[in-house]
Amino acid sequence: MNHTSTAERMLRGILLTLVLLFFLFPIFWIFLMSFQTNEDILRIPPSPFFTPTLENYIALISGKLSTVAGDLDIAFMRNLWNSVLLSSLSVGVALILGVPAAYAFARFKFRLGENIAFTLLSFRFAPPLLVLLPLSLYFSELGLSDTYLGLVWVYQLIALPLILWIVRGYFEDISPDIENAYRIDGHSWAKTFRKIAIPLARPGIAAASLLAFIFCWNNFVFALVLASADKQPVTVGALAFVTASGIQYGQVASAIVLSVTPTLLLALYAQRYLVEGLSLGAVKG
């Protein structure tokens, strides 16, 4: 028995290692690349041994990219800031609109309710390109092209359905009698929503916000079409490293490391919070 268990444990260990390698190796390799010059990266055969350099990071942060063809201005830090701004604003707006809507869908039966909820969800099925062309026409007409407002608005296509559907599920899991008890104790509907419903759905709201933030952060095509360099996030900004004199792999890698870091930190932070929320908020008893 001991023998079987050891073999099992070893097998499990090997499999886990393989899975981890498969998923983590590219990230690890990118991380290494970000400290190499283009020559080191393009060496054949590739080698993990090299003299580390901070050149890539310095180029990104200073905004000056030196290539054989000459110096280029890159707006990477600006792009990073745009990403943070666009994603946070989008999630913020989606929360303000989506959480009350999710509550309404969870608690009240109204005409066309299910249809409206499904229509919102269907925005997630449609490829963004389907709406982009008409949107870009509307946006230039309305003067929303190349504005933060316009982008945050379009990002609602990504963030709002996520928040609405995840948070709705959480609200549905809360016994309405918990809210009823609070209401009959002399509290208004609005106060019940604020003091009882939202705190009880907090783990769900946190999870949905995190997902929505990551999805917004990773979006590429909306900003590519609807914004100019000035308003573009990192996903689009990375295109600048495809230069006339070749692809700047070192800078691309360090740009990836820098742009992944905020979401990674946020996810790590929220994960702790999510687990806590899930284990404490045993609503169903």
């Binding site: 009823n180 008890a181 609070y182 009959i184 104790d185």
Partner: protein, 391 residues
């Protein structure tokens, strides 16, 4: 429908506290409702009175309670409480306390904080809060769980905590939704008495929903029996048993349920007899009701088809002129339930002594005139109760 004032509510404060006037509840589109859950429900509850809404599931009792609480809108009709019309007020403005059947405690608060919640919100003095919490939790035997969180409680504990939270605060009306459904039977019977005393002691007007007759009988001054959204009868437990308003109430109240036979009246110069016809294989039987004053009730005509009802406890076994066949005989420790086949159907009878006859044997039984209930054949309304018609 008889209105009887509860003993403890007479004299001091007999005025009406809660009044429901022709209340209807439709679910779905009002113009084309899917369900008509409550139909023209009217009821007056006196100050300090305890009323039970009793009925099987889906009869509309919970909808009625939730309309009083304000969780459901009133589709038609009005509700008045303590002299105010409340049916369009939000729950917060109705000054009603409610104990819930299911999960209703605030998860982030301990049981103690849950119970004291309304008192603290009302800025009551801390010592006073503590005194009240101690009192009510001792009454409901939940002192040991005061510092626990709702998620770690059993259903019965949650229910008692919810009950404590409702009873502790001041309100014009106390609504209890199946207040003891999740408790152990023993605890239930103990708490029934205590809760009733508490309600009477503090003069609390209350309406509670139950599907348990024993609970309704033990707790309530009056019981409102509901079926299919309609209030069938509201009366004291004794009255429901002795003078059921119709066939539904007659067969719903009482355990085992009332025996009902199709029968025919014969009236001869004020002398009335009700007969149940026999079949080819079984004898019928009849009950002589003697002289009955018939002036008012025209439905009691000679030859009129009716339903005859008799409670199992009132059938006398082993004596009398009628014969049936004993088909089942169960001694339950303190009483015997026998099933007698007569007039082509079965009749349940309860005796407090053992019945020695063999199964399949002929057994004599008699039905006292005082125990007879007569109902109209068409709509089942009560036409005559032997106990009051027979001298």
């Amino acid at each position: 429908m008889a209105n009887q004032t509860p003993e403890h509510a007479t004299g001091s404060r007999p005025e009406v506290a809660l009044h429901l006037n022709a209340v209807d509840k439709f679910y779905g589109d009002p113009s084309n409702p899917v369900v008509h859950a409550v139909k023209s429900f009217s009821m007056a509850v006196a100050q300090g009175e305890i009323v039970a809404l009793l009925g099987s599931s889906g009869c509309g009792k919970t909808s009625t309670l939730r309309m009083i609480a304000g969780f459901e809108t009133v589709s038609r009709g009005e509700i008045n409480l303590a002299g105010r019309r409340i049916d369009s007020l939000p729950p917060a403005k109705r000054n009603v306390a409610m104990a819930f059947e299911g999960y209703s405690l605030y998860p982030p608060l301990t049981v103690r904080d849950n119970i004291a919640f309304a008192l603290k919100a009302a800025k009551l003095d801390q010592n006073e809060v503590k005194r009240k919490v101690d009192h009510i939790t001792a009454l409901l035997e939940i002192e040991s769980i005061l510092d626990k969180y709702p998620s770690s409680l059993s259903g019965g504990q949650q229910q008692r905590a919810s009950l404590a939270r409702a009873l502790i605060r001041k309100a014009d009306l106390y609504l209890l939704d199946e207040p003891m459904s999740q408790l152990e039977p023993q605890l239930r019977s103990v708490l029934r008495g205590r809760i009733k005393n508490y309600l009477i002691e503090h003069g609390l007007t209350s309406v509670f929903v139950t599907h348990d007759q024993t609970e309704a009988n033990a707790l309530a001054d009056r019981i409102a029996v509901m079926e299919d959204g309609v209030l069938q009868q509201i009366a004291s437990p004794a009255e429901l048993k002795d003078r059921p308003a119709n066939l539904f109430v007659a067969t719903f109240i009482g355990e085992p349920p009332m025996n009902v036979f199709p029968a025919r009246l014969s009236v001869n110069g004020g002398h009335m007899q009700v007969s149940v016809e026999g079949t080819e294989t079984a004898n019928g039987f009849s009950v002589d009701l003697g002289q009955i004053a018939l002036s008012a009730n025209s439905a009691l005509q000679d030859g009129a088809p009716v339903h005859l009802g008799v409670r199992p406890h009132s059938v006398a076994i082993g004596k009398g002129e009628n014969l049936g066949i004993l088909v089942s005989n169960q001694w339950l420790g303190d009483q015997t339930h026998v099933v007698i086949e007569t007039a082509g159907q079965t009749m349940v009878a309860v005796s407090y002594s053992r019945v020695e006859e063999e199964l399949g044997a002929k057994i004599a039984f008699s039905i006292p005139a005082r125990a007879v209930h007569i109902f109209a054949e068409d709509d089942g309304r009560a036409l005559l109760h032997g106990a009051e018609a027979v001298g």
